[in-house]
Amino acid sequence: MDGLFIINGMQHRLDFKSDERLLFTLRKHGYTEVKNGCLEGECGACLILLDDKPVNSCQVFTASAVEKDIKTVKGIGNLYEPHIIQKAFVDAGAVQCGFCTPGMVLATYALLQKNPKPSEPEIKNALDGNLCRCTGYVKIIEAVKLAAQMIGKGGDRNV
């Protein structure tokens, strides 16, 4: 099959198998920033934004996402123009191996769009679909607070 997708703001026609998971379609077409950690819907390494909502791309049939808007972590900022959230993760020391980071950053992005001043329990609950084995979440939670603060101070273009 093939279909149109809007990925990180650009239209793409991608080919895929009829029973393929969106995770594999994206990775196959070079979006390797979307990671495969479990294929169960438990780890959040494959998290993307589908029509602005965080979902596990391993739990989505590609065919069900045609014509939809997809955002990966590269869609919110890059090495040259990082998003505030990405900077906050760096500043807080929230990136160890970095395998969970794209998913964590996007889950944070979705949270702050809905709730720019989250409390600590709200932060923790918003990250309940993302596993991290390196950080113990301590500095990740700090990073989200820091990002909210930085954005609150009027820092960013996207949020």
Binding site: M1, S18, D19, G41, G44, Q59, V60, A63, S64
Partner: protein, 269 residues
Amino acid sequence: MKELHWYYPETLADAETLVRQENVLPHGGGTGLLLRNLTGVDSLIELSRLPLRSIKVVDHNVEIGSACTYADVVEKMAEIDPGHILIKCLHHSANTPLRNRITIGGSVAMFPPWSDLMGALITLDAMISLTGKNSGDYSVLEYIRDKNLRANSLITTVKFKLLPRKSAHYREIRTKSDMPTFNHTVLLNIEKNKIVDCRIITVGTVLKYTRLAEAETYLTNRRIENIDVAEIGKLVNLKFAGSHIDDPEYANIKAGIELGRMIQQMVRS
């Protein structure tokens, strides 16, 4: 494997025609379909383009479109009735990204033993509307019992009455993002310090779900000051099995204690 065909109907009429075909299945969120073997399935009907994503209230009757996700329901029910049982059941179900995919229709059709939804729908005496071969309205219980209703039929809406009830939900989980080993849903109608009606459903037992009739009988028509929480625990006699349950006897004890606590909390507040 041969290719699946995907349909993207935009009207219910089209969907009805499609669902009547051989070897087709509706696709809600896909989180359940991804677990099953799709051999023998020729096509899937994607439901997200159908007008089934809204929640309506008419005359204290709530109608939830079957393509609504758990997250949709939590968000929209909060506007309708912030203390509603469905919010309590679903707002911590699975995890945040999954709640954006799991649909009401798919969850009714699949009814896994860890379902956070079905206890509430049963206690609410919810009805479902089907379109297709078995077009019509059915109670959720009928739908659960009669597997034939599933064939070539699409759940379009789930309906229930808005009633002033005290409600509570308890999930037995190991971590916050976990499928519950069992969960309790309780609805109480308390008038003048007396329980006049009560519904208690436990999902996750060997029978998939169990109505706690003895506890219901104990509570019904009882004044709240006469409720003995320990007594409720003793009336819980649930059977659990499966490799995920190490100690079925303990699971039952735990179920009893937690139910007692729920009731205590509910009558106190």
